[in-house]
Structures are given as C-alpha cells and as structure tokens.
Symmetry: C3
Subunit: 352 residues, 3 copies
Amino acid sequence: MAYVRNAWYVSAWGHEIVSDRPVGVRILGEPIVIWRDAAGDLTAFEDRCVHRLAPLSLGRCEGDRLRCKYHGLLYDRSGRVVEIPGQVRIPNSLRVRTYPVIERRSWVWVWMGDAAADEGLIPPILGLDYPDRHFIFGNGQLDYAAEARLINDNLLDLSHVSFLHTETFRLSETWAREHPKVTEHDRSIRSERWIKGQGLLGKLDTGELIDTYFCYEVFVPGVLLMTVRTYPVGTADALNGQQPDLNQPAEEFTSQAITPLTDKTARYFYTMGQRRGGDETVYDLTTTEKAFAEDKMMIEAQQRNIDVTPGWRFISIAADRGTVLFNRLVEKLAREESARSSTASPPAVAHQ
Amino acid sequence: MAYVRNAWYVSAWGHEIVSDRPVGVRILGEPIVIWRDAAGDLTAFEDRCVHRLAPLSLGRCEGDRLRCKYHGLLYDRSGRVVEIPGQVRIPNSLRVRTYPVIERRSWVWVWMGDAAADEGLIPPILGLDYPDRHFIFGNGQLDYAAEARLINDNLLDLSHVSFLHTETFRLSETWAREHPKVTEHDRSIRSERWIKGQGLLGKLDTGELIDTYFCYEVFVPGVLLMTVRTYPVGTADALNGQQPDLNQPAEEFTSQAITPLTDKTARYFYTMGQRRGGDETVYDLTTTEKAFAEDKMMIEAQQRNIDVTPGWRFISIAADRGTVLFNRLVEKLAREESARSSTASPPAVAHQ
Amino acid sequence: MAYVRNAWYVSAWGHEIVSDRPVGVRILGEPIVIWRDAAGDLTAFEDRCVHRLAPLSLGRCEGDRLRCKYHGLLYDRSGRVVEIPGQVRIPNSLRVRTYPVIERRSWVWVWMGDAAADEGLIPPILGLDYPDRHFIFGNGQLDYAAEARLINDNLLDLSHVSFLHTETFRLSETWAREHPKVTEHDRSIRSERWIKGQGLLGKLDTGELIDTYFCYEVFVPGVLLMTVRTYPVGTADALNGQQPDLNQPAEEFTSQAITPLTDKTARYFYTMGQRRGGDETVYDLTTTEKAFAEDKMMIEAQQRNIDVTPGWRFISIAADRGTVLFNRLVEKLAREESARSSTASPPAVAHQ
C-alpha cells in the first residue's frame, strides 16, 4: 500500500510537547523528534544525532537549540550542528533532516513530503478549542498492531457498525442495508446519510425517535471529520432526503486521525465532543471505549490473517464504495508524487 | 520436516465448541474456524472472510449459517457466501475453503488433505466416553514453542524417562538400558515391553513390586495411544516375555495428540484415565504436570538450539528405533501424497 | 562489526558455577555450557548434545563427566561421548567442541579462537580477591539489547559523562571539553587525564576540591580496567600534567567486561572497589545503578535507531580518538586472524 508523503500527519497532541521534554515519534517508519523551544515554537527533526545515531528525543532544549545528551552535540532549529564539545571546527555538512511542523487546534501536524509544505492541506479539523463543546474524549489515543490503511478502511465503510458494534453502539442494520451518499473531492471522500425514525445516533433501543443526519469526510492521509445533527421525525422526508442546513452547528462531532507509525503499526488519535448541555449519555465513555476496542480487536486479527496469507487480496462489495474511492485517491496522489520525485532526489524512507 | 496432509489432526476438545462461539485454531499454519450450528453439527472453514480477511472465528452462528461480524457476510455450511448486506448480486465464486471435521470420542478431528477424507484413518483413540474410568486429566492441553515433530520424537523414544523425569516419575534406568519391541504398521509404530519386578509404572521407590506390560502405538500424524497392564511378579517370565492378553481392559491408559500449529509451535492434547477404584495415586496430578513441564522445558530448549545452529542435524542411537521408523513412515506418506498432488492442484499452505 | 576470536571473553563469575549446576551462556552467538566437576575444575563445551541438540547445560555432573539429561549420553572432559545408554558401540567421532576456560580473579574466561589459547592475553584484571578493598559492586551484571561494540564505544569515550550522567554522577563538562591523553598498545588503548581542582571523581557539587588522576585501559575484546588517584589541589600543575606514580595503589578502581552474547545482545560484567576505610559515599550504589541505567537506555535506543536506518554510518568527532583507535585495532586483529584461518578450517559460528 502506497502512502502519500506530501501530506500532514498527526503526530501528537500539542499539550504533550513541553519545553523541557522533546518527544520521539515514528511516522512512516521514520524516527522523528518534535521539540518546543523556550519561545514555545515547535521544531521537528530526524530523531538521530549525526554522530552516533543517538535519539535526539533523549536530548535537552537549550533556549532555541537542542542538545544531544549522549556526547553533547548542539543543533539549531535548522538542523545544523552548531557545537561539538571539545572540537573547534564543525563541518557545515553536519545537519539532521528537518520536517515542517504545525500546531493547529490542539493537534500537532508533521509534513512528510519533499515538496514545499502547504498549510492549506491541513484538514478543517476541530479540536479542544472548539467553542461551547463538552469533550467526551479530549485527546484519545490508541496504538494498533496493524497497518494504518486497515483503520482507514474501517472508517470509510461504516456498514460494519451494524455487525461489529451490536453490543456497544447497538446501531440498526440500516447502516449496512442502505448506502450513504458518497462523493469524491480533491483530497477527501465524503459520506452522508439520513437515519430516519430511530433512536439517538441510530440506536436500536432508545425510547425517543428522531431523524439524524450523519456527514463525514475522510481526508488524505487519514483524517476523519464527522458531524451528527438531529431533527424531529419526518424532517428527512420533508427534505426529500436532501441534506439539511450544514451551516448550523452540529450537536455532536468527532475528529479522528490515523498515523502510520511503521508498516504494521499505527496510532489512532481522536476527540469527540457534543454541544454543552446536550444529552451527555449519547457517547458514554465506557461504551465508546469498548466499541473502539472491538474495532482494534477485529483489525489486528485481520492484520494477523493477512500476515499468514501469501498472495492475499481483498474483494470489494457494494458497501466499500467509499473505501475504494479513497484508496484510489491515495494511490493516484502517491503515484503522482512518485513520478515527480523520480526526477528529484527523494528522502530516504525506513519502513519497518 | 514434511507433514502428512491426508490425515486427521486433533484441533480441540468437543465440549469447547459451543453453538454461539466459533473457535479459531491453527493447523499446519492455516487459520481454521470450527463452529457448531444450531443442530449441533460441526463445520470447519478457512478462518478468513473472502471480503477483507477478517477471522470468521469472531463471527456469529445464525441457525446453520455463520456470519462474519465485520461487515456481515453470511456463509452456508458449504462455505458459500449467501448474503452480502446491502448488495443484491452475489458472485457464485465467493466461498471459503472447507475442511472435513469429525467429533469422535470427545476429540475434534480436522482433515487437512486434498484427497477424500477417510474416517477409517482416525486412530482408535480413547476419550472421555471410555466406560468405567476415572480421568486424571479429562482434557489436558499444553502449548509448545517448538516444532510438533520434536514432541513426537520425545514420545516415540521413552528412554528419556530414565533421565529427564528422575525427580518426578522416578522411573528406573531399565527404560533406557533395555529396548522395547518396536514394530511397524501401516500408519503407526508400535512399542511394547515388560518392566519386571519394579514398582507401579516402573517407579524406583514404590514398595510393592509387580510386572508391568506397557504397550503404545503412535499413529500418523502424531497420536499416541498407550495402555498399562499390571501382573504379579513372575508373570513376564512365565510368558517368556511375550505379550499378555491385550483383550483384557487395561488398568491405565493415556491418549495424546500433537498438532502442528505452525512451523515452530504445537498444541499437545492429552487425556489419562485409570480403572475406577484403582490406585489413584499412580498418576498424581502434580507429578504428571511437573513431568510434562520437564518435557516442554527440554524440547523448547532443543528448538532454540536448532534455531541457532545452521546446518544442524541429529544423529541416531539404538534407542531411536521407534523414532527413526516413524519419521521414515511420515516421509514416505508425505512423499507419496506430494507425488499424487503434483498432478492435481494442491491447496495453498501458509506456514509461519 | 568484526570480532576478535582469538581472545578471552568473560562469561560468568566464578562463584556462579557450582558443581551440580552447569551454566549455559552465549558468546558470539554460540551456545556454551560451563561446568565444574567434582574436583572443582571448569570445562566449557558447545552447549548441544550431539544426539538431538538438547542443551547440556540442562544436564548433570557425574564426577568428572557431564550427562545429558534428555537421553543420557555421557561426556568426558575432552568432549567425547563415553556412554550411550542401551548401546554398546560408540563411534569415536561423537564429540562436542570444547573451549579453553580459565577462572582468574573471580572472573571466568572463555577462549573463542581456533589458535592455541594464550593465558598471557588475559588482561591484568582486578577482582574480588584484590586485597584491602571494599567492594561496592562485587559482581555486577547487566544485560543489553544492543551490540557489544556500542558499549565498548561508550567506555572508550568518556566525554559522554558530561551530558548523559548530569543528574547522577554530576561530573563537570571538563570531561567533554578537554581531551585525555590516548595511547595505543598491542591489544589495548589507554586513556589518562588529570581533572584539576574539582570535587571527588570530578563531581560538580562536592565541597572539598582535589586533583584527580584517571587512568584506564580498554583491552581486546572489551575489558576496561580503570584506577582513580586523588591528590591535593596543585599536584597536577606541580607535575606539569605528567602522570603521578602509578605504582602506588589507587584509591578507587573498576574492572568491567563486555561480552557479545549475540549480534545484538551483550552482557556487561563489572566490579568496583575502593580502599577500605576510604570515603564510601563516592560510588554510592543507587547513583551508580542509575548511571548504568542511563547508559543502557541511551545505547539500546541507539541500537534501535541503527536497526531502522538502512545504510547507517557514524561520523567521528575529536572526542572519539580512543574509540577510533580501538575499533581500528579490533579490525586489524580480526583481519589478521581471518587471513590466518582462511588457510585452516575455521570453527562454525552461529550468530543470531
């Protein structure tokens, strides 16, 4: 599976990176250190000292510089070695690779490509700074022993909620039996649908019945933004199944990002919020955590099956439309950037 | 090491497989799901959904069908997909491989070959339904981090009991110093011997002395059936060392099966029983468990040595006669079926 | 990285090897059993029985022989099989490889080469029998998930103490900013230096100031011998920075040995002592253990970075002089013995 490199990958929550503690992460197999200097600015380096490959994430910040704690080499924010203890001359070639890094709405994004970083490609994600929201998960995080692509696939085809989450979310088979409206966009796939005359969030066993409009978009490389809007029964039919006014704020939303750590491990970041004063039982903590564990259990088992099946392949069914379109989009973008960079010198990638 | 595929492999105990809980196992590296339908019948499938390779062992039984719990594909007992939620047309080619499966005397057997399954090849094993027996281990199970063949070798050469189990079974060196009578059969090797004038089961430190006749047979692919018969001292000599009447029920018996899960892991199933009202201290639980742990410790250490010894080889000693004959038999059968299936299309095998 | 095989490797502490308990170790990837016979003498064998590769370290001593506890093969001290239970004829070729082994000053040394073992090549190490010393660590041991060479590198360039151990040893940056005098010897690199007018052991925050002379030598394959001598402030200058009288016993000493277990694991043996009645707070136990944990944390992280960096390479800085000279020496010796043994038949080596 190809990955798009000219894209922003979520690597951490902003509050996790404090000035005296650099953070080591893996993205697309590459060890990366993200550190915050005394002025509060973030910098991302290749996480290995040029000297003996010691991780710079074990180093210490000194003002706007980062010092390797093994033998004391000091780096400025451009990745250049500016001091070698006990040595006068410093070759100008001594530098580590830097990565563009941005903190946006409480998420920390790293640009993995060799093309110029384009801030406009950060998806319009919601985070802890979204006003008037109660957060059920302010900063959820879950590590997977599975390829990121399998988690993206899971999110792009929510028909699975009818079967996998029957004992947690208790959603009806409407999710699997009827298809959402799926549309393609430049760097995302959007999926939207009405669930008519069911309980809150489409639950089987909720007393009060409503119409709900679900709308979510999955952006390259793997960022899901979803909103949930509720209406009196009959609204969907009155609108002839067309979308309601999406400019109105949603009752519930969730933002999720999947980052490939290595070929077969991924980190799942997520936040979930609802309008303050809303029904706080909808996304209850325990149920949501159990449902996320169901996904993880299934997807890691799927990965293990893939690992023991030489020449494995997937087949596609009608419900996979969003998945198929998204993977086709990823492959197209990856192919394009590979074509571009074959004339330039591509950065080395260490998958593992 | 070759394995015979046209053979029945023990995969579970019958009572473990209940109607609402399919069981996933590995045999010869292949993921297999065994499930019991509402009528009580067993079915065995390749344990991966055709759609996205999710394990069907995480699925749910619906009458005589099995539904994948990821996206809801429904399979009938022939392995054919009979429903895809939200999709009208179902390609006829959508099916998983099935394996013949039989429950016999509380053991569940799976046929791994491509030839027609032959029930006559299930060894005459004893199980929980053996009458008038007290079971010390009704359904023992032990997982090994070692190749199944090494465990078979251990069982085929009981000379090891004189050295490995000195602090548990406390058997005499007669087991190693004198050889049993070993005979070859169609799909098994039989080993039988008198241990004269020693304690019960040949123990060093038992007060009362007896003659004991041990008879066991190891069947392809790895099933040991053993009986123990005791007599007054002098009986062996009176019979000139010939076998006693084997039609009489034995005082003690044990049935054991070794199943290769993967190249270097195996599952050991065993049951041990003795005549109700007999001396129940012979096979005491703690001693037997300790002795089994001694075998496991030695064999797993042996495997680790093999793993770090390029070009390793075994040498054979006089005590190995049973082992050598059995491995020769396995290789002959494996060679024959490989010759047969090279003209047909063999099933894919995923060792790991 | 090449290793010198014609060298003595520390494999254990002498008191660990008692007569009824053979000890299994790995050196350069090879499984080795060291056992002490009834007379107290040590023998080292390849740790796998010729029969079925069972570890002889699970065996039992019988006088001056070692019996495999799997099927009872008995070995004499030359590695020859002298008994096979139940078998009369014993092929003369049945033998395991033996390794020269010596106990010297509480350390057990194994010779891994094919050339004749030369006792003169055991470094002049100090051990538990050093007179009039209080031992802080009599027999320290630490296992590393890293290549031995990385630990040697760490010891050969103590500039790291200025940065890595700031919160434990609290040594000044003098260690990194000024270079020691480094000299080459036949099978070792020696490093010596004055630290002038600082606290005991060069500590930043000790009240009383002294001059300290540090002298250490790292011998092939990886044995560090260090002494620490203290003097009134001004002594170094009075001596014009020349070495003091090294025939006087040192206040403190440490002996350390790094043994490659496999390609990427190593065992670190160390002892530390000081003159009885000296300041016993210098090397306090907790601080030293924490500092050793800092080294281990850094070096194992370095190894993990190496593992995910195809085509990785180190660069050398001024502080690396000792490291560079030592690795050059190791490579020269390894090349020489490889040239010699290419005409002879080299012993098989199983790295893993």
